[in-house]
Symmetry: C2
C-alpha cells in the first residue's frame, strides 16, 4: 500500500515500512533505540518486529504493564528513569510497539525527555492503527480523566503492519471497529455500510481509508481549533462512560470502542432531538452497534457520576460541555450544547 | 524601558507591563486565571501584583512549596489536580509569579495541561529575570537530574518588574549575578567589568542587557542545536555540582548561581589548558567570583560522585560530556571534550 504523508511524517505500511525505519535510523544516526512494550507486545509482537529491524545500534527494551490503568504519570516516571539509567541522550530514539496506551504514553515520554527526543509509532492494535498512532496527540490520564496531561507532538514515522492484528483478541479488534464506524458516520458512509453489511471485512482497506480520513482532518486543523473536533463524535459522552467504568471497582472495564460505541448511539439520539437527525438512522446506528458489541446496561444510579465526569471533558470551556452532533450522516455540527436532561434521556434510549 | 520582542512573545518592563497583561487577558478572553506562587511569593509578591491586575475574570491562586527540591513531577501532579478541581479548561491562563522553580514548572504544567494552555511568566528573582523566564525552556527535575523532563514552550508574555527584587535575599540576588557574569564573559565583557568594578550596580540596565543577549542567542537557535549552547558556559560542571549538593543530605545546598560560578572558574581553567585561554583571565574570573561568593570547599572524596552526575548532563551524546570552553573572553568554542583528569584538576584549582 502507498505510504500516506501526514503533517511532518510518513505512515508506511507492511513490510516495506521496516526498510524505511532502517533508513531513518541510519540517516539520523541515533545513539540508542529504546523499544517500549508491554508484557503482551513483548511476548507476541516483539519477536515478529525484531528480525525486521536491521541496525547495528544499541537496542534497549523497556517494558511497562499493559492497561489504561497504567497510562499515568507514575508509569512515565518509571520509563524516564529507565531511559536515564540506560544512558539515554538527546540522540536516542523511542520506538513504541503496542496499542494506544503505549503509543500515547511513549510519545509523551519521548517529547518531554530532555526537552524532546525522536519517536516512531508502531501500533499493534486496530484501535491504535486507525486512531492513536496518527494525529500527533500524546499524553496520559490524570486519575480517571483521560489524556488530561499531554501535548501535540509528531513521530518521525508511523508503521502500520496488520500482521500484528493476529496477536490481539476479538474484543480488541472490535474496539477499533468503533473508530472506523465513527469515520463512516461522520465522514465517509461507505465505511459504515461496509461494516453493516459485510461479514468478511477487508480490514486492510478499512484501516487505510480510516488513516486517510483522520490525516485529511488533522492536516487541516492539527491543534483542534475547529474541524478536528469532528473526530470527537461519540467521544464526549463515551469518554465519560469509559472513565466511569475505569474508576468503578465492582464493574468490569469497557474497552475504548465499547464506550464510544455507546457514546455514538447516545449522541445520535441527541442529534435527532436537537438537529433533526433522522430517527431511523439513530435506530440503524444502534442496531449496528448492538450487532457488534454486547449491551452494557447503564444503571440509573450511575448517571450522576457519569455527568460529573462529563464536566471535566477536555473540550469544555467555562464548564460548558461541547458535543459534536449530526444533521445527517456525513454532516456534523461542532460545539453543540446539550441540556442535562437530554443527555440522561439518551442513555435511557441506549438502555431500551 | 522599551519592550523586547522575543521569538513569539514580548518581554515588558515595570509598570506598563501590567497594562499589557490586562490587554492580553481581555483580548484572549480567558475563562480563569490561575496564579502559581510559592509561600514566599504569596507573602511578598502577590500583594504587590494583585492591585496591578485589572480584570473581572475569575482568579484562583495555587501555592506550591518553594525550593528546587520541589521542582518535580509530584508537584506537577498536585498543580494539575488543583487546576482540574478548580475547573480549569483550555481557555484558562496560568500566571507564574516566582523564581525559576515557579516559572520552569509552571510553564511545563501549562504546556501539558489538556495538551497546552497559555501562560505568562512574572519572574520575581534576579536569576529568573535574566535566565529562566526568557527562552522557552520549561521543565522539572527527575531525582537530582536538573530539567531532565520538560519541553520548549513559549509564554504569551514575560513581565519584568524589578520592584519584586526588594522581596528577595542578598544570596538570591547573588545567584542571579552569576548568570550576568556568564553573559559578560562569553558575550559582552562590559557586563563582566561593570560587576568587577562597581559597588553600586545599576541592576535595571544589567537585567535589560542580559535579556537582550539571551534573546539574541535564542532567536538564532531556539532549540539549542548549536549557538545556544554558549548559554551553558559554567553550567556543565556547575549543574553536576549543584545536583551533588542537592542530593547530599549532610551538605547545605548551593544556589544555582553559587554552583555555576564554581563551574565558570573550573571551565576557565579547562579552557586555559586546552584552548590557551590566558591564565591571568582564569585568575581574574576566580577573583571576581570569590569577591562575590563564599568559597565552597569541594572535597576530594566527592569528586567521583560529581563526575558520575556529569555523565547524565542533558547535552551529552553517546556518553560523551560536552563543554563550552573559551579561546578568550567573548570567544567561545562549543562541544569541547575534556579528559576526566583535567575536570578533577579544575576542581582542585578552584579549591586552591
Amino acid at each position: 500500500m502507498k505510504s500516506i504523508k501526514a503533517v511532518t511524517y510518513p505512515v508506511h505500511f507492511q513490510d516495506k515500512a521496516y526498510k524505511e525505519l532502517s533508513n531513518l535510523i541510519t540517516t539520523n544516526n541515533y545513539s540508542t533505540l529504546f523499544i517500549l512494550v508491554d508484557e503482551n507486545t513483548m511476548e507476541h509482537c516483539y519477536p515478529k518486529f525484531i528480525p525486521n529491524l536491521e541496525t547495528d545500534k544499541r537496542i534497549e527494551v523497556i517494558e511497562i504493564e499493559s492497561g489504561e490503568i497504567n497510562k499515568n504519570l507514575e508509569t512515565c516516571s518509571g520509563v524516564w528513569n529507565a531511559i536515564t539509567e540506560l544512558g539515554g541522550d538527546r540522540k536516542s530514539l523511542v520506538i513504541t510497539l503496542g496499542g494506544g496506551v503505549i503509543t500515547d504514553l511513549g510519545g509523551f515520554v519521548a517529547s518531554c525527555f530532555k526537552r524532546g527526543i525522536d519517536f516512531v509509532n508502531i501500533p499493534t492494535t486496530l484501535l491504535s492503527m486507525v486512531d492513536a498512532s496518527v494525529g500527533g496527540k500524546t499524553g496520559v490520564d490524570l486519575g480517571v480523566l483521560k489524556n488530561q496531561i499531554g501535548l501535540f507532538a509528531n513521530p518521525e514515522m508511523v508503521i502500520v503492519d496488520t500482521d500484528y492484528l493476529t496477536t490481539v483478541t476479538d474484543r480488541e479488534i472490535k474496539s477499533g471497529i468503533a473508530e472506523i464506524l465513527k469515520y463512516g458516520i461522520t465522514y465517509d458512509l461507505k465505511l459504515f455500510n461496509e461494516i453493516k453489511h459485510n461479514k468478511d471485512l477487508d480490514i486492510n482497506s478499512l484501516i487505510y481509508r480510516s488513516i486517510e480520513i483522520k490525516n485529511e482532518v488533522v492536516l487541516q486543523d492539527p491543534k483542534e481549533q475547529s474541524l478536528r473536533k469532528v473526530l470527537n463524535f461519540g467521544h464526549t459522552l463515551g469518554h465519560a462512560i469509559e472513565s466511569f467504568y475505569l474508576e468503578s471497582e465492582e464493574k468490569q472495564n469497557l474497552t475504548h470502542g465499547e464506550a464510544i460505541a455507546i457514546g455514538m448511539v447516545c449522541e445520535c439520539f441527541m442529534s435527532a432531538k436537537l438537529l433533526g437527525f433522522p430517527t431511523e438512522k439513530v435506530n440503524e446506528v444502534k442496531e449496528v452497534v448492538l450487532s457488534i458489541y454486547n449491551k452494557t446496561h447503564l444503571l440509573k444510579q450511575d448517571f450522576s457520576a457519569i455527568m460529573e465526569l462529563l464536566k471535566h471533558d477536555k473540550k469544555n470551556i467555562n464548564g460548558q460541555v461541547n458535543f459534536v452532533l449530526l444533521n445527517d450522516y456525513q454532516d456534523y455540527k461542532l460545539d453543540c450544547k446539550v441540556p442535562e436532561e437530554l443527555i440522561v434521556e439518551s442513555m435511557e434510549f441506549y438502555n431500551l
